[in-house]
Amino acid sequence: MPKHDTPMMDELESGPWPSFVTDLKRQAEKSPQCWDILGKMELSFKDRITHWKHGGIVGVFGYGGGIVGRYSDVPEQYPGVAHFHTVRLNQPSSKFYTTEKLRQVCDLWEKRGSGMTNMHGSTGDLVLLGTTTDQLEPLFYDLTHDLNWDLGGSGSNLRTPACCLGKARCEYSCIDTQALCHHLTMHYQDEIHRPAFPYKFKFKFSGCPNDCVAAIARSDFAVLGTWKDDIRIDQDAVKGYINGDFAPNAGAHAGRDWGKFDIDAEVLALCPTECMRMKGDELQIDNSNCTRCMHCINVMPRALRVGKEQGATICVGAKAPILDGAQFATMTIPFIKIDPENDFEEVIDVIEKIWDWWMEVGKNRERVGETIMRIGLPTFLKVMEVDIAPQHVKEPRSNPYVFWGPDEVEGGWDRDVKEFRKRHAQ
């Protein structure tokens, strides 16, 4: 395939940030269709519009997801990308790789596709960007046989679960994010590969409330590590911070002179619950009022550690704005043990409760968060069989429109209007 004249693409080779254009040109030496990618991108830059057709249902036999079909609306001009389907490989939990595995993927994709990838897709997949329909089955065969690796999700199914790196390299993690993520991914292979839901459903797992995988904003089922007992305090380290031996926030603000560390201003005053105080040079935390926001721990990681009684808070129903407006996930299970020993039974139990209900009452293309909005949080919480607690809301309702059942009201609902009229003339 010939090079195209791509002045605008070329412009994007300049500048300090890594250039995808330079990279495309480099790959083009081995994967000539990359010239057509560049040419077609140039056309979109010129026309200020996409040149892909709508949709395109392709896939591998027996799977309802994992591949997103794409066809060019200018196939003659750029035959190399007339078909340009993406293949979603289910990334290993928290995206650690051996170079050996990665090189296998590279070879496979150079053979079977454009050689271009997304590391990674927003949901978390390792996305192989652009191939033709006839390559899909062979690619899938090689992937499963040679790499023993499988596809991720797309369509109205369970999407590829994702997690933060958790205990692998973070002192804050209260749960085994990878173990949980991987176990559920394996447990629900069928739900990932064969759409049977009203709409997409996403799992994300963060080890602590910092939520580095954006679970509470981006997943229908968000599990965030937390703890129930007290923050562990190393008073000497506290002094260390006060004396300036350690940089606050692990040095995250080192680039600017913010003056001497001021524990009152930087920690105590920013605690959202005002539950910390200094008694002399001893830091005291009223843990019963702590909401585990992480701030103090983030600022003084050497002095403060998450508690020992660890578990997770489960929030349900996050989504992007289409159609009722964006939703964050709503706190549903305040605290749950996350136990690899029993294969995360408790978590699975929660998931299936949600699915059973959603699959029964959810409308087509209705995310579970929208279903909860439509039917009401009280009903959802009842379905979940959780103890109703004030923690489920930011504040009690301000309207007085409460539902009552006949069983809750003395005498029930059956009344005889004629009897009533005897006492109350019309």
Binding site: P209, I216, L224, T226, K228, P272, T273, E274, S288, N289, C290, T291, R292, T313, C315, Q327, F328, A329, T330, M331, P334, F335, M373, G376, L377, P378, L381, K382, D387, I388, A389, P390, Q391, H392, V393, K394, E395, P396, R397, S398, N399, P400, Y401, V402, F403, W404, G405, P406, E408, V409, E410, G411, W413, R415, D416, V417, K418, F420, R421, Q426
Partner: protein, 376 residues
């Protein structure tokens, strides 16, 4: 000569409005209108306003039942004539204010007021509980789910000490509305007493045809629980009526307002809900709506002990726990609503979780919460 039924239009006068306020001002008010510099609360119920002219206006505020007789008003006039050269005012919360223009007139006025039994308790200022804004209840309205005057009397008898003192963290404004129409505007009160129904409307087939326009009745239901339906009246005639999906009803009573043939009131179904944490003023925090914390308390005349106790409990926990200047709602938000329920011991029920419009904004979309005893 007066009104002549024979000839009703004879020299008829209309649209003259109320008397002009200025005729009503006491001299010291007229003279210092717009000139006030500052004020002091000398003791509970007694205000002194200082003018840049040097004048002072002393106000003695006394409680009144909002339901008062002309005889009682005449007695108020007697007092005003004796001490306030014939002027008096009512506050926006139904208290009565006697004003005098010098300090030495205050004590005699107060002595007089105190000499009249429990008719004129002095107070209602500052960080205390002032008079309850309320509505008609069984005294005059057709849609109430509870009484007004009776409940107010019972509650204020119990909170009486708070009316005559200023020991609370901030002013606590209590209001009562006897149905969801909320004439008492309890939607923004520190503590709100709200009459609620819990039984769906009955359908009076013998009255509906003559009393209601079916389309209006149907349209009146915010939840679409009412639909047109044929029915049979006692006379056995088929009539145009309505059918009600009872499980959809949340007892707002709007259908009864629009159609008298759909009564909801019921001795056991009706009762009181308690809402807290509302405020009107823009002081410190912006206005806040009251929040429903106790979904139902029974109607137990003559003294509604459950309601009286519930309010005292909230007030006392608040008094102990809140900071100076902190309104009930500001306090609850600072400690978190989970702690509000914990400290007051009020059981949190599913009824407090919003499932009406705009409900989503009240859900907790964060991992931030306290481990109160609610979490097992």
């Amino acid at each position: 000569m007066g009104y002549d039924p024979e000839n009703p239009m004879a020299d008829r006068i209309t649209d003259i409005g109320p008397p002009h306020f200025e005729q009503m001002f006491p001299p010291v008010v007229k003279a210092n209108y717009g000139k006030w510099l500052y004020h002091d609360i000398l003791e509970p119920g007694v205000l002194m306003h200082k003018s840049e002219t040097g004048d002072e206006c002393y106000t003695v505020r006394v409680a009144a039942a909002r339901l008062i007789s002309v005889e009682h008003i005449r007695e108020i006039c007697d007092i005003a004539d004796a001490h306030c050269d014939g002027h008096v005012r009512w506050t926006t919360r139904n208290n009565v204010e006697f004003m005098v223009d010098s300090k030495d007139k205050v004590q005699p006025l107060m002595d007089d007021l105190k000499s009249r039994g429990n008719k004129f308790p002095i107070g209602g200022t500052g960080a205390g509980v002032t008079n309850i804004v309320h509505t008609q209840g069984w005294m005059h309205c057709h849609t109430p789910a509870t009484d007004a005057s009776g409940v107010v009397k019972a509650v204020m008898d119990d909170l009486f000490d708070y009316f005559g003192s200023m020991t609370l963290p901030a002013q606590v404004r209590i209001a009562l509305a006897c149905c969801l129409n909320m004439c008492g505007a309890v939607h923004a009160s520190d503590i709100a007493i709200l009459g609620i129904h819990r039984k769906p409307p009955m359908i009076d087939y013998d009255a509906i045809s003559s009393l209601c326009e079916i389309p209006l009745a149907v349209a009146s239901c915010p939840l679409g629980a009412i639909r047109p339906a044929k029915a049979e009246n006692s006379a056995g005639e088929e009539i145009k009526a309505v059918a009600i999906k009872q499980e959809r009803c949340m007892f707002c009573g709007n259908c009864y307002t629009m159609c008298p043939a759909l009564p909801l009131a019921d001795p056991d179904g009706d009762g009181i809900a308690i809402l807290v944490g509302g405020k009107v003023s823009n002081s410190k925090s912006m206005p806040k709506f009251s929040k429903l914390v106790i979904p139902f308390l029974p109607n137990t005349p003559p003294r509604w002990p459950e309601t009286v106790d519930a309010i005292r409990n909230i007030l006392e926990v608040y008094a102990k726990d809140a900071r100076k200047y902190e309104r009930v709602g500001e306090w609850a938000e600072r400690i978190g609503w989970e702690s509000f329920f914990e400290k007051t011991g009020i059981p949190f029920t599913i009824k407090s979780i919003d499932d009406y419009r705009l409900a989503y904004d009240t859900w907790r979309t964060s991992t931030q919460f306290k481990f109160t005893s609610h979490i097992k």
